[in-house]
Assembly symmetry: C2
Homo-oligomer: 337 residues x 2
């Protein structure tokens, strides 16, 4: 392969502007420390020869990449993209960019990805969910960079910082809401709790609300499935079939709930009279469904913003006094329950 280094370098700009190489560097990184006149000359030279700085070289020299790595379970899930979007926005303001990856579904996959990401020397790292292997934790700690974990507030041993809400508390609150409205036989639909800690927490919250009132949870009320509209519809039917007298279903995701509401329409089940439905996420559709969906609102954009701020503050030398941030949640009472 031929070596083609036809790149315009900083030195070329310097020569053209008749200044030292360092001055060019300063114009780019610390504009305040350069005389206005020279600055203009340098900027013009940059324009004229179409110089594009090489951040790779800069990063090597300064030991700072201005890159934040972000790892989510699946990029495709809109729930995460909202967080990522807000984070990217916040970061860009300070010249940082986002290296994005999906952790996959096993700890091993995640470990591999993180190892490769760390090799790129990001200045910080955000990671949503996932169960980290001991090696992963060790790697992350050794890296020494600010790290924000998200997905759930309750992390046995946070690696560094945490920004999230409590899945347990949110699910418990919604379940309590349903119990207060005198629903007693309540179904619960979530993801496989063995594979997903957040699902487990939501299910635990569901059970806790019953326990507090001294009520029992019938095992038949719990159903685990993968996320989707059709899956929500199927779950509703399955639950009603195996649980005579079911009064309500709490879907730990609005997509399921919306699918279930369609099924009610198809079957002529009246909501909430025949069956009450509650969701989780306050997805954009929740306020539009027929009937409108009672759900739990989580500020996902806020998670992204706060995470970015935490990392940036640390990078800017600030001390983060509160390394665990609870962004909270809110019960949105609408028509369906």
């Amino acid at each position: 392969m031929e070596k083609t280094r036809d790149q315009v370098r900083m030195i070329d700009v310097a020569r053209r502007a008749k200044v030292g190489l360092v001055t060019v560097s300063r114009v780019l990184n610390e504009p305040g420390k350069v005389a206005e006149e020279t600055r203009q000359r340098v900027l013009q030279a940059i324009q004229e020869i179409g110089y594009v700085p090489n951040l790779v070289a800069g990063s090597l020299a300064s030991n700072r990449t201005h890159v934040i790595a972000a790892i989510v379970p699946t990029i495709g899930n809109p729930v995460f993209s909202e967080t990522i979007d807000a984070m990217a926005q916040e970061l860009r303001g300070e010249g940082y960019h986002l290296l994005l990856g999906n952790g996959g579904h096993s700890g091993r996959e995640e470990e591999g990805l993180i190892a490769k990401f760390l090799a790129r020397r990001p200045d910080g790292l955000f990671i949503h969910g996932g169960r980290h292997t001991p090696e992963t934790c060790a790697m992350l700690r050794r890296s020494g960079i600010p790290i924000v974990e998200s997905g759930d507030l309750r992390r046995p041993e946070p690696i560094d910082m945490v920004v999230s809400y409590s899945n347990f508390a949110a699910a418990e609150a919604m379940t309590t809401y349903l119990l207060e409205r005198n629903y007693r036989r309540i179904g619960f639909v979530g993801r496989a709790s063995k594979e997903n800690d957040r699902s487990l927490e939501r299910q635990r919250g569901f059970r806790a609300a019953f326990e507090r009132l001294g009520l029992e949870v019938d095992p038949r009320w719990i159903l685990e499935t993968s996320l989707g509209y059709r899956e929500g519809a199927e779950a509703l039917v399955a639950l009603r079939e195996r649980t005579p007298g079911l009064e309500a279903v709490f879907f730990a995701g609005d997509v399921w709930a919306a699918g279930a509401l369609y099924e009610c329409l198809r079957r002529g089940w009246s909501v909430p009279t025949d069956i009450a439905i509650a969701g989780f996420d306050d997805h954009a559709v929740a306020s539009q469904t027929v009937p409108t969906l009672t759900t739990v609102r989580v500020l996902r954009g806020e998670i992204g913003r706060r995470s970015a701020r935490l990392i940036l503050d640390r990078l800017n030398g600030g001390t983060v006094d509160e390394p665990i941030i609870d962004v909270g949640f809110e019960i949105i009472a609408r028509e369906s329950a």
Copy 2:
């Protein structure tokens, strides 16, 4: 700020394994060229001292970052995340990672972002939509890296490669479908066509279908709004109010269509008898709505995969013989129209 270079470097591994630095480098990059025994020794040393290669330094030396930059209008839009997800998947297989950014809504913003991204020396770039300023195009061309544009097949002057479907053809096909089913007074809901070329193309396709049959499009049938469930509901009502005898509405996005279907439920309008509804995207919800939604399917994951392949092939020295790929579309006929 204190300088803490406590990093484990390649030379440390080399010393521990009692080999030269170059040998370590080879174990990492060209494992085949190292004797099995030495390789094992090196790998073990890497494990023992927890060495994480520094790709920043590697990139500078090799002039290859193994990073692909991806720019989409908004990360939050699920429509794009599907593409990005597939692309990331494909890229990771060959050791590439994704630098993600949203282009914002003006050509200037996009230009700024691209300039900053190029400074990171990505090996390739993917960009969805956007109207590039002349400066942007010049920058991109000068960069010399493989570039894939997406969003619409019809690009006046492609910078390099294009992977997409034709918004024009897709919209024309759906409109023709509706006309063939004997709907004549058809509304069209899309984004602001002045701000978004893809919207303009869809609207053009809509009009073209009428023209081919020698039919007129009443200006009152066209409505532009921002994307959302509620916006879809509102658009439907507005169109019916101002257009007596409206028989169908083609929503250039399933989210609008789904919102409109809810409105029909609320008002007791029967679909497709009172009003037929068609969408665009084949969003996951389309097969579940009541009634199910007739729509246009676009393979967004395919766009991501093909784009990645094109870039990778080029990077691997291959010649890309077909730099403009049409991934096509498909009319999915369901109950709503």
